[in-house]
Each structure stands twice: as C-alpha cells, then as structure tokens.
Symmetry: C2
Subunit: 186 residues, 2 copies
Amino acid sequence: MRADAQRNREKVLQAASAAFAAEGLGVPVQEIARRAGVGTGTVSRHFPTKESLFEAVVLSRVEPLIDRARSLTATRDAGDAFFEFFAHMVDQGALDRGLAEAFAGAGFDMEGAALKAGYDVGATFRELLTRAQQAGAVRPDVDITDVKALMFGCLTRERGQAEPAARDRVVTVVRDGLRAHPAQAI
Amino acid sequence: MRADAQRNREKVLQAASAAFAAEGLGVPVQEIARRAGVGTGTVSRHFPTKESLFEAVVLSRVEPLIDRARSLTATRDAGDAFFEFFAHMVDQGALDRGLAEAFAGAGFDMEGAALKAGYDVGATFRELLTRAQQAGAVRPDVDITDVKALMFGCLTRERGQAEPAARDRVVTVVRDGLRAHPAQAI
DNA sequence: TGACAAGCGGGATGAGCGTCCCGGATATTA
DNA sequence: TAATATCCGGGACGCTCATCCCGCTTGTCA
C-alpha cells in the first residue's frame, strides 16, 4: 500500500472515531470525509460501505473491553469482576455515543461484527454473570439479556452530558437490585 | 368539516397509531397512507407535518397514563403508587414501540408536546417519586432522570418480543435497587 | 337535482444520504 | 528523471422520504 494511502486511511479512521464518539453512528460519511480533510471517494475506497467503517471503529473499542473482562476475571472474585466490568462498560458507553448505540444494536450488529473478528462479547459477558451468580453475588433469576437491558438504561442516563456522579448513582441502584436475593427482596 | 374528511382523518389516525405501535416512529408517511387506504395528500392535509401526526398519536397514549398516575396517587400509599406506575409505564412502552421511542426522546420531544397540550408528564412522575421518597419507600439519593433512565432500560429489554416474564424480572431488579437504602446497601 | 365548495389521489419536487466512477495527480521504482 | 501503477477529489447517480400541488371527484345544501 502506498504511504499516502496509509496516511489517509488513518486520518479517516481517526475522524470517524471522533465523530461517532461525539455524535453517534448517524454522522454522514461526507461529514467524516470533510473532517478528515479528504474526499468522499477516499473514504469509500478504504471502507467500501459505511458498515465497514463501523466495524473498524467499533471493533477497536471492543478489543480493550474484552481485555478488561479477562483481566478482571483473573484478578478479582466473581462478584467484583462482574460489577466492575458492568461499571466499566457503562463508563465507556457514556464517553462514546457511537459505542453506546452499537451496544444497543441501533442500526449495527456489534456482537455479530465482533464475533466475526474473533471476539465473543456475548460469551464473555455471560461468563462473568454466570460466575457471579454461582458465587452468590448476583441473584440467580436474571439472564444476560436482562443485565444488558439494565446496562442500556445506565447508558441512557448519560445521553449527551458527562455527569459521572449521576452515572454512579444509577449503576449503584442497578447493582443493589442485582445483589438482592429474590427471597429476601419481598 | 365534511363527513368523509372526518372519516378519513380517523382512518389515518388509526393506521398511524397501529403502525407506530408495531414498527416505531420511523414508519414512512406514505406507508401509513397506504395502510389507511388514502393518498399521501390526504394525510398531509389533516396532519401537515409528520410531527403533528406524532403529537396526535402519542398524546392519545399519554392521557391515560396521566389518569393512571392520578388514580394511583389517590388510592395507594406513596411507595406502591410509584412502583405500580413505574411498572405500568414499562408495560405500556413494551406494548407500543412508538411510545417507547417517544419516551426515550428519539426524534420527538414527547414531554414538550404533552406539556403544550396541558399534560405535565415530568411533573406528574416527579411528584410520584418525591412522595415515595418522603415515605421512605425509595432511596433518597436518586433523581427523576435516574428513574427515567432505568425505565428506558426496562423498555429496552422488550425490543420486539413480548415476554412479560422477562419484563417483570427486570422491573423487579430495578425495584429492589430503588428500595435499597444507600447505607444498608454497602 | 344542480352548483359549488371541500376534499381526494398520487405524481412532482427537493433535500439528505450512501455509493460509484473517472480525469487528473502523485508516490514509487528502475 | 521517466514510466507506471496507485490513489485522490468531488461530482454523478440512485434511493428514500417528507411535503406540496393540481386536476378531478364527491358531499352538501339550496
């Protein structure tokens, strides 16, 4: 690949990354080209479809998340690993609107794309949950889809403003709810 | 207004209501016209913009919600009123995708539109929360925005499938989390 | 029943967007 | 430096969709 092509590809990736993070996945391709200082043709050549841009940007965000999950699994007990990962996902999603939309499956199948690249986000998260439940740290009557839904709720709180205190409040409520044992909760 | 005009207006409203409930607010106006069995011009005349259609349909959903809130306030203690209304909102949103999107503020300012029509959804919900907190049924360290975010999370669980058991599970988790006292939760 | 205002259908219009294409420019290699 | 494969810019194209408009139809009332 020619050196200038490599440079331009990088510029596009960076502009797309920033644009998606700030405004979400709805940013027009032409706007990304403008911010990257290249023509729309250049974007199209490096990323033939908008979805391929999504993949490149979102996957670069998913990789560290998986790493974080693995590291937490190795160094914390099951309950702490689960809740810290939960909070970390919310933090990341709050900082990056595009990532939050991808989590929510709004117009892009993140898990499918990640799986194609060898990252099984679903399985990773499911394992964290199962281990936490076996350790008695999370009530046994919730499944992974429930947890994801609660995560989206926490993310929604951050629509736009970055208010870490509010984020913590909502995460705390969810954590207390997930910890409660069904029998003792009534 | 001519009788046939009145009939057509009704047909459009009903078709739009069903379409928004089933597929969300993104349904094209032309599709609504087709399902109503009228031309697009007829839709445009009765509802000059798509947003005016949103208003008409969504407001017809908001009114019973407000009624429900008032009735619960009158007949239940503060905590039950709050939690029953919360569950009811989630149920309604799960049955009606358009309503859920409007709650989430996706492309349409429901609260603003409702306020224009004399329904202060925000104030109604806030009062329920405040009373529940004063009664000690809800932890004092959450605000109305937190609660809304958690509600959106519960709604997200229902994206598409109607699985009331899952809905209950998530609502239960949130309820237990909201009940927990901050001091005893640690 | 006849005249006319009110209403109807659906094509026209224009905006926004993703994707494709090509004439010109540029990096690379000998 | 000359030749060539590669890459660039940005306009063209096709699509979707909301909104507007006009020639024709139909309900209404004297």
